[in-house]
């Protein structure tokens, strides 16, 4: 019983071997910290290019079409900003929760509920003046988004129920709820049976920039970014959120009320996403309709991590991702599936995560198993 181990050669001795080792760098050099995201984005594009090539498209052509579509014309740029608006709001929303390691991946549902509540106000009180109606819709959107996030927040705070799954499941519920309304009781009788409500009265329309489709919602997004940034870095609440996110045990030790913060942060997170939904119905569609968000809530998760939860970074990344979305639609005209944009989103995050981690580590080729002094090593990069 004890001998079997012994027979596995006492000396697997002294044969020099090379092995690859991944080790932690003591500290990340400024150069790599700056280079990592850039290199990662390039890698993601190369990866996507190989994928395009393999499926029979010319990657250079597709990329140049995408770039032109998103940034190459006035129309493209405006559309990029239009798409960036809900992404920005939703991302600011989820990033607050992520700071506390609360995985709110239910921004999609919160957007739908925000859109629903704002639409309800707009359709119920069409005669109110804009100065009353728009703030009312804003509040309704925020409250509905917040309450929708409260549903998973309470079981998480009380019993520790995994919020990843509950927030995600509620996305489906919210989408079916809006579908029920637009296919059923709220359907526009004059809408040729399309799944949409009647148009809101003009009082419910958000003002636009000139003749473009860029609406006031953009201001909401930028204001939210500034407010959240100040809240996190300067206030006591923000400090609590940072401590809880980094080390819940220390937070408890310091007397912080974690369940209360879970509830409050989820409320805030959902409310900001809800405002994104309000912005879409009040600023773009002017009615509630099927598919009001094509996945802004999911894109928000990626943008938040790409920007490392930094509000200023989120603003920039939101515009890039708005562009990516527009680019996806642009290449669709040429028969290339718009899903290329979703795929690139996923691989972007994938490569940025990898790149960031690689900057923390270094890969070394190490010669092992030889006697004294013979340990040599070569550093790759």
């Amino acid at each position: 019983m004890t001998d079997d181990a012994r027979k596995v050669t006492v000396g697997a001795a002294a044969r020099p071997r090379w092995s690859i080792r991944v080790e932690k760098r003591p500290e990340i050099s400024p150069f790599w910290r700056a280079m990592a995201p850039v290199a990662s984005i390039v890698m993601a594009l190369v990866f996507g290019g190989v994928f395009l090539q393999l499926t029979g498209y010319d990657p250079f052509e597709v990329y140049s079409l995408m770039f032109k579509g998103a940034f190459g014309s006035r129309y493209g740029l405006i559309e990029t900003v239009v798409k960036a608006t809900p992404i920005l709001l939703a991302t600011i929303g989820v990033s607050v929760a992520f700071r506390m390691l609360l995985w709110n991946i239910g921004a999609e549902g919160q957007i739908y509920m925000g859109a629903f509540a704002a639409s309800w106000v707009a359709l119920s009180f069409p005669d109110w003046p804009p100065l009353m109606l728009i703030p009312a819709m804003f509040i309704a959107g925020a409250v509905a988004g917040g309450l929708w996030a409260l549903l998973p927040a309470l079981p998480r705070a009380i019993w520790g129920v995994n919020e990843i799954i509950t927030t995600l499941m509620l996305n489906y519920v919210a989408i079916y709820w809006v579908d029920y309304l637009v296919y059923g009781p709220w359907k526009d009788p004059k809408g040729f049976n399309f799944p949409l409500t009647p148009q809101f009265s003009q009082a419910a329309w958000l003002p636009c920039l000139g003749t473009t489709r860029i609406h006031l919602g953009l201001t909401f997004g930028l204001a939210a970014a500034v407010a959240v940034s100040i809240m996190l870095s300067r206030t006591r609440w923000g400090y609590e959120i940072r401590v809880i996110g980094e080390n819940p045990a220390a937070a408890r030790y310091a007397g912080m009320d974690i369940p209360r913060n879970i509830v409050l942060v989820m409320l805030l997170s959902g409310a900001i996403a809800g405002i994104a939904g309000m912005g879409e119905v009040a600023g773009i569609t002017h009615r509630l309709q099927h598919g009001i968000s094509p996945g802004y809530g999911y894109t928000a998760i990626i943008v938040a991590w790409l920007a490392k939860l930094n509000p200023a970074g989120i603003v920039i990344a939101s515009f890039l991702f708005g562009g990516l979305l527009v680019a996806g639609y642009a290449v669709q005209i040429f028969g290339i599936p718009a899903d290329i944009a979703t795929m690139l989103q996923g691989s972007l995050l994938f490569f940025v995560l990898g790149g960031e981690a690689l900057a923390r580590y270094r890969v070394r080729f190490v010669r092992v198993g030889v006697g004294k002094g013979a340990v040599s090593q070569a550093e790759a990069k």
Binding site: M1, T2, D3, D4, A5, R6, K7, V8, T9, V10, G11, A12, A13, A14, R15, K24, R25, P26, R234, T235, R236, W237, Y239, R242, V243, E246, N247, A249, A250, R252, Y253, A254, G255, M256, D257, V368, G369, G371, K372, G373, V375
Partner: protein, 547 residues
């Protein structure tokens, strides 16, 4: 265990193959043949640290070889290399005269080297037998647990190591878990057994049992490497001792050539000053009064049983006991981190039973938690952010809902200066500080709130002697200023040096309280093992004694 060996012990089956292996290797010198293990010029670097600097070290067959050194001297690193966990950056290892490459623990075990780590490597949710068979290569696929359980029972009883092979690890006491670790290594045929600070978790009596077992294994021809920083253990159990300091081997001595004083100066490299600041004035009023408190542990079983204790102003009350006997839970109920099931806790007469941690902090209770980086600090946040962990709610750090950055910075700067914390900058994350410096900062933060009561749990564990002395001085200074201090420690020397009274805990009870003038290591040891109580218990609940 070779025939040429002077100890001339019996050769068991496992050692037979080893001897054959050594013979095949064509060992040249007789002197070398006596060494089971020989490490030559071992060097190991970690980022920023040279942990082992050309260390050479030899172990003979059938000896207990102590590896003595302070924390951070490189003992554990050296043994982690010998057990295959780390790879050396330079040097070579010979087992029975043959050069080996110990690329993994599996290689080490195949070469007959097994290590019992300070933190046991046991899977809590597995049974003893499952843990023993874990990682072996036979049987290859289908497991017949019944047969393995029988083997384990037979092997452990042959060395007097009582264990139930079907028990789950989490149900066992720390001492029993250690036995499982030893059985695990014996089961694999290890004839070189490395024990990393094995007595740290044992009562003095349990430690003596362990030494008996070690002697029995020595008689059977096995070699034991015994890592320790305690001089008396070296004198009691070792045949030879190698002293490490700052990553280098300083000397190897036979026990008969060693004296505690010589070993101490080799280990520390300077004169050992054990002087503790003198006794202060008489104790003041009672600050903390715990009466008949019971509480549940993490697993839902009673881990504090009707504990009663008092701490007066200007007094250090030590809590002695083997880890896991309710000390952590005691600290947690006082600081509001754990619910009290029964009983009351009074702070200067005010009831703080089951108040929130925040309310208790506001009552002036400071806390140095057991896991300082995991609980007491936020490793990724800056020094400034860590220093305001408890003061961010009130002026001057708080300004309405905002945090006043300048005030926070000044506060941090003050503490860093006053307590001589070595830090590269106030905005650097706390995880970059050394253990001693982060502990100093934590203590500084807790003291800066002017607490009436300080609960300190293992405040010097893992620190080097310099840092530990600094912490001790601060604790004494605070006591002299009238702070009531509850000091939980596993280090009896520390308690002997600091505590005005010592309460001994066992199985969630206070077994007794001894005044400084009643200090008796033998009696404390018996109480730690649950087999005696103090006659003169000051705070012990009379009805609760073990008869």
């Amino acid at each position: 265990m070779l025939s040429g060996s002077s100890t001339g012990v019996s050769v068991d089956a496992g050692a037979g193959t080893a001897a054959a292996a050594a013979a095949n290797a064509g060992v040249d010198a007789d002197a070398d043949a006596a060494y089971v293990v020989e490490m030559r010029d071992i060097t190991k670097r970690f980022p920023g640290v040279l942990a082992n600097d050309r260390i050479s070290f030899q172990v003979r067959a059938g000896e207990v070889h102590a590896l003595l050194g302070e924390n951070g001297a490189g003992k554990s690193t050296l043994m982690n290399i010998l057990s295959g966990l780390y790879r050396p950056d330079g040097g070579e290892i010979l087992v029975r005269g043959r050069r080996v490459h110990l690329g993994s623990p599996r290689h080490a075990i195949a070469a007959g080297i097994g290590m019992v780590h300070q933190h046991f490597r046991l899977v809590q949710s597995f049974t003893v037998a499952q843990n023993v068979t874990l990682g072996m290569s036979k049987p290859r696929f289908v497991l017949n647990m019944r047969a393995i359980e029988d083997d384990v029972a037979r092997l452990s009883s042959s060395y007097g190591l009582q264990t139930d092979p079907r028990a789950k690890i989490w149900q066992l006491s720390v001492g029993e878990q250690q036995r499982v670790e030893i059985v695990k290594m014996l089961y694999r045929g290890a004839d070189v057994l490395i024990l990393d600070e094995p007595t740290a978790v044992l009562t003095p009596q349990e430690a003596r049992d362990l030494f008996t077992t070690l002697n029995r294994m020595k008689q059977a021809g096995r070699s034991i490497i015994f890592i320790t920083h305690k001089l008396d253990e070296v004198m009691e159990v070792a045949d030879r001792v190698t002293v490490l300091r700052d990553g280098r081997a300083i000397a190897t001595l036979d026990r008969k050539d060693a004296t505690p004083g010589l070993l101490a100066s080799l280990m520390v490299g300077r004169e050992v000053g054990g002087a503790v600041p003198g006794k202060k004035a008489a104790c003041g009023d009672c600050v903390l009064r715990i009466s008949s408190v019971s509480a549940l542990g993490d697993r839902g079983t009673l881990s504090l049983r009707s504990v009663s204790l008092e701490v007066a102003a200007g007094e250090i009350v030590g809590i002695a006991g083997v880890a896991g006997n309710g000390q952590r839970e005691l600290a947690e109920v006082i600081t509001g981190l754990r619910r009290v099931q029964e009983g009351r806790i009074l702070l200067r007469g005010a009831d703080i039973t089951n108040r929130t941690p925040l309310e208790i902090i506001r009552c002036g209770v400071g806390h140095i938690p057991e896991d300082r980086l995991g609980t007491g600090m936020v490793p990724n946040l800056s020094i400034v952010d860590n220093v305001i962990l408890k003061s961010y709610r009130s002026r001057p750090v708080a300004r309405g809902p905002f945090i006043h950055a300048k005030a926070a910075r000044e506060h941090a700067d003050n503490l860093v200066r006053r307590f001589q914390v070595k830090a590269a900058g106030l905005d650097r994350p706390i995880r970059l500080l050394s253990g001693g410096n982060s502990q100093k900062l934590l203590l500084a933060r807790e003291i800066s709130a002017n607490p009436g009561l300080l609960v300190a749990v293992h405040p010097t564990r893992g620190l080097d002697i310099g840092a530990a002395e600094a912490i001790h001085h601060v604790l004494i200074e605070q006591r002299n200023r009238g702070v009531a201090i509850l000091l939980i420690s596993e280090d009896l020397e520390e308690l002997a040096a600091l505590a005005d009274r010592v309460a001994v805990m066992f199985a969630g009870r206070v077994m007794g309280v001894l005044r400084r003038d009643e200090w008796d290591i033998e009696r404390i040891g018996l109480m730690m093992a649950g087999s005696a109580t103090a006659d003169t218990g000051h705070g012990a609940d009379k009805g609760d004694r073990v008869s």
